[in-house]
């Protein structure tokens, strides 16, 4: 019962739903909002449950289903609060239930920063439906017109004329006997009457999270469960030639080893293959795995080396590529002679390293599988497990736990498929635990990119032509063999939609092959594209001897609705309601400068500010980073001012938290993030050689300024990341005169 609003020309790839967070090719909205809920739905037993998202019991408790995964972005709080608001429910009497994977709920793939955007109206409809039924029931009992009743009193229906009230619990049974109203008959509260939307709220789970109570994927236990650690092929596509597990089997607690077949290309979300060590606790499984002797056939990716690959990408970026946007004629302008400025930028592979490594428990019984896991995408768990185990996806139940971070990694359910496969082979529940080393070495990496930019400049230093070329192993390589070009989704992440007012502009994309698994990570292609574009803009400003803020605003030009080509709504139908408005881009830029005291504050030697602006996931974000660089290159970040225009905001406290966190995530990318490979093997393994930002390296003060807006809600979880690294590097240039064109900073003599 799914409405596929629009299936893109890409549609299905390799028989599997293309679940890229950055490409929302098929927008799945629940058609069954007013139909029978599934037997797994926790509200099925409530007295009044007019939609699959809300139920009310006779004691007045309101039950709301959270169908999106919560990896820290607060969707378990914000979406239920939208229901509660429209229902005029008392938030203290709302219970939130996490949904299993079920296509009836619509899209559950929690990435691409679109939970609020896609489900704001759906949640309001649920709340309004229940409210109208309760009001109708009360009016019926009192024999008064519905129009004379109100729910302003919260959790009760009131008839002010006769000073009568009835609680929601008292009305639930009577309301449940009424027909469920049609969508056209619903009345929504005016914005001025919103009681929760736009008001800060703590997480629904905050007290539990501070007392160690909630169940993450890592915390699931089932009766009779065994634990598995898997020795994965060190090179992507590798196979076991031979192995000796005698020493492993000697380890106390280890019961057996089980081989897992290698995947058939393309790898998609299939298990990597390898040898699993089964034990009666996690530690023994890890210890036993260390004792395995395995000879691997590494296959063709064993030639992959990061340094030579980087050179290859740079060479490609200097040759013509596929044109993804063309305005005017850059070649003609370059041919005129005059001042030319060019620069190369580079960003490395990155790993997600959520604090909770991938982990899943699966129980295979009589042709059905039940999975408990930390997943961003329970429906992909169903599909992948079904395919790997050889059953129908309807026979896979996926319980979604809390996620100890996700950042895009946990949209890919290979680890859940491993658990299901092992449970099928062993006939008992299996918990597959990835160590941190597994997580770092066998990630779906954020891709590496080489970018070349070239501009012809007039007498004032303003570009008369602008060429940009981006080369990176694309995410499509995970879903199709030999895919070497980015798709329109990756290109629309700050490349084909450059928002500058230029008479001549060409954006291109060059080919690159993947030799590791490539996947989406928080902000995806925006990360490297914004780094190149916003660094280049700053370089041009300095070359022209102009203030970077003034120059950036001149580049953006006057406020206008920018024509995007290709039209992003081809991939993401709802984008049609979100035109790219450069006036909003200007506004956040000016506001960030104002809040940060741009041009107004005096700094000591070695201290300076940098600015960058970027629109992603339909939100406009500008960031000013203040940096202090010591004589020996030690970088500290005393202050960050970031301005976000994400349209209508549900929970301002969550928005603040996401942007505070994005500054730290951005710091990790800029300071130290770098995954490298030699002979196809990832060199890094844990936080000592893949460091992420710690408290003493993080920005000391992040000031988040939210633009007050009544525009449609846009993304929040990701858009804070892209402008951060360029703003930081622009500040470092202002402070030191040293330009960072390659990330991370540790490659440039900074620490």
């Amino acid at each position: 019962m799914i409405t596929i609003e629009n299936v893109s020309r890409r549609g299905f790839l390799g028989g599997m739903l293309w679940t890229g967070g950055f490409v929302l090719c098929a927008r799945l909205l629940p058609q069954a909002l007013w139909a029978e809920d599934s037997s797994e739905a926790p509200i099925a037993g409530t007295v009044l449950h007019p939609t699959i998202f809300v139920g009310i019991n006779a004691d007045g408790t309101v039950h709301v289903v959270a169908h999106r995964s919560d990896m820290g972005t607060g969707t378990r709080t914000s979406l239920p609060r939208v229901v509660a608001d429209e229902l005029d429910a008392d938030w203290a009497r709302v219970k939130v239930h996490q949904a299993v994977g079920d296509a009836s709920y619509g899209d559950q793939d929690t990435d691409g920063s679109h939970s609020i955007r896609d489900f704001f109206d759906v949640m309001r409809q649920s709340g309004a439906t229940a409210r109208l039924m309760l009001v109708t029931a009360a009016a019926g009992q009192w024999k008064v017109p519905v129009s004379e009743c109100s729910t302003d009193t919260v959790h009760t229906v009131a008839h002010p004329k006769t000073a009568r009230t009835l609680g929601y619990g008292e009305l639930a049974l009577a309301a449940s006997r009424l027909p469920v109203p049609k969508k056209e008959d619903l009345k929504f509260k005016p914005r001025s009457a919103w009681r929760y939307i736009g008001k800060p709220s703590a997480h629904y789970d905050v007290e539990d999270l501070c007392t160690g109570k909630p169940v993450f994927g890592m915390d699931v236990r089932r009766e009779g469960m065994v634990y598995a650690a898997i020795a994965h092929p060190p090179v992507l596509g590798g196979k076991i030639k031979s192995f000796d597990d005698k020493a492993a089997l000697q380890v106390r607690g280890v019961s057996q080893t089980v081989a897992i077949e290698p995947f058939k290309p393309p790898h998609q979300f299939q298990p990597l293959g390898g040898l699993a060590v089964i034990a009666d606790n996690t530690w023994s499984a890890f210890k036993g795995r260390k004792q395995l002797q395995i000879e691997w056939d590494n296959g063709s990716n064993a030639s992959f080396d990061s340094d030579s690959f980087r050179k290859e990408m740079r060479e490609t970026s200097r040759k013509p590529g596929k044109v993804v946007r063309n305005i005017g004629d850059v070649d003609a302008e370059f041919g005129k002679g005059g001042k030319i400025f060019e620069a190369d930028y580079y960003t490395p592979l990155l790993a997600h390293v959520s604090m909770e490594p991938p982990v899943a428990v699966a129980e295979y019984r009589a042709g059905k599988v039940v999975v408990w896991t930390c997943t961003q995408n329970p429906q992909a768990v169903q599909e992948t497990v079904a395919k790997v185990v050889g059953i129908k996806k309807e026979d896979v139940t996926c319980h979604v736990t809390l996620l100890g971070g996700g950042f895009g990694r946990k949209s890919k359910p290979d680890y859940a498929a491993e658990a299901a496969l092992l449970s099928q082979k062993l006939g008992k529940p299996v918990k597959v635990v990835w160590s941190r080393e597994d997580d770092v070495k066998f990630d779906y990496f954020h891709t590496t990119a080489a970018m070349y930019l070239k501009a012809a400049l007039d007498a004032n230093g303003k570009p008369t032509a602008w060429l940009q070329r981006s080369v990176f192993p694309p995410i499509g390589s995970t879903f199709g063999v030999d895919v070497k070009l980015g798709d329109s989704g990756e290109m629309a992440m700050g490349w084909s939609n450059l928002p500058f007012d230029l008479p001549n502009h060409r954006a291109e994309n060059g080919e690159a092959s993947a030799h590791v698994r490539i996947g989406w990570m928080r902000s995806v292609a925006n990360v490297y594209h914004a780094f190149a574009v916003q660094s280049f803009a700053d370089e041009l400003a300095h070359a022209a001897g102009r203030d970077p803020l003034e120059y950036l605003l001149a580049l953006i030009g006057p406020g206008r609705i920018m024509k995007e080509d290709p039209d992003p709504s081809q991939d993401d139908p709802s984008a049609v309601n979100y035109p790219f408005d450069t006036a909003r881009l200007r506004q956040v830029t000016e506001l960030a400068a104002e809040k940060a005291g741009w041009g107004k504050r005096k700094f000591a030697k070695g201290t300076a500010q940098g600015i960058a602006v970027h629109r992603s996931f339909l939100s406009y974000v500008a960031t000013v980073v203040e940096v202090e660089v010591s004589d020996d290159g030690a970088v500290t970040i005393p202050r960050v001012d970031t301005v976000v225009d994400a349209g209508t905001i549900v929970n301002p406290d969550t928005v603040r938290a996401q942007f505070e966190g994005a500054a730290v995530f951005g710091t990790s990318i800029a300071r130290s993030g770098e995954i490298t490979a030699s002979q196809g093997v990832i060199k890094q393994s844990n936080f000592h050689d893949y460091p992420v930002t710690r408290m003493n390296q993080a920005p000391y003060q992040v000031n988040v300024h939210i633009v007050d807006s009544e525009a449609l809600p846009a993304g929040v979880g990701e858009p804070g990341v892209p402008p951060f690294a360029p703003a930081l590097c622009n500040a470092i240039f202002a402070a030191t005169g040293k330009r960072v064109r390659e990330l991370p900073l540790s490659r440039n003599g900074f620490s």
């Binding site: 007290e207 890592m218 996690t282 844990n686």
Partner: protein, 151 residues
């Protein structure tokens, strides 16, 4: 046989003496509040108190714990929330929350040893605990609030 005390309860363990305390707590006792993050004492997610001092349970073998008192996130409520937990809730610190038991235990050890804390002391003590969501600003604020509360 190792005898130890976990959150006030006497326990004995006769398994692999190399097993780290983390996995004893999680897999043997079923106390899952203490988290696995790195297995190498690099991230602090597994932090517990050993005789009142913060230790990384992922790198503390059971063989070293005879006669020791272990306190975990499940054992600091007194009853009601510990002042550090209260401060965490008030600042709405957690995002995903996975690292927070370790952060809280590290902060409890800090608050227990000092009544007034400077930014520098907080940095020194807390920089062994990674939060990938980036809640450091709120952690710092919560520690200051908790320090005032207990002063």
């Amino acid at each position: 046989m190792v005898r130890l005390n976990v959150n006030g309860v006497e326990r004995s363990f006769d398994g692999d003496p190399e097993m780290p305390l983390l996995w004893y707590l999680r897999d043997i006792l079923g106390m899952a509040g203490t988290k696995f993050g790195c297995g190498m004492a690099l991230c602090g997610a597994c932090t517990v108190l050993e005789n009142g001092s913060a230790v990384r349970s992922c790198s503390t073998p059971m063989a070293t714990l005879a006669g020791k008192n272990i306190t975990t996130i499940e054992g600091i409520a007194r009853p009601g929330l510990h002042p550090v937990q209260k401060a965490w809730v008030e600042a709405n610190v957690p995002q995903c929350g996975y690292c927070q038991p370790g952060q809280i235990m590290q902060a409890v050890a800090l608050i227990n040893s000092k009544r007034k804390v400077t930014d520098q002391e907080i940095d020194e003590v807390m920089s062994g605990n990674i939060c990938r969501c980036g809640t450091y600003q709120r952690i710092r604020a919560a520690i200051k609030a908790a320090a005032q509360e207990t002063a």
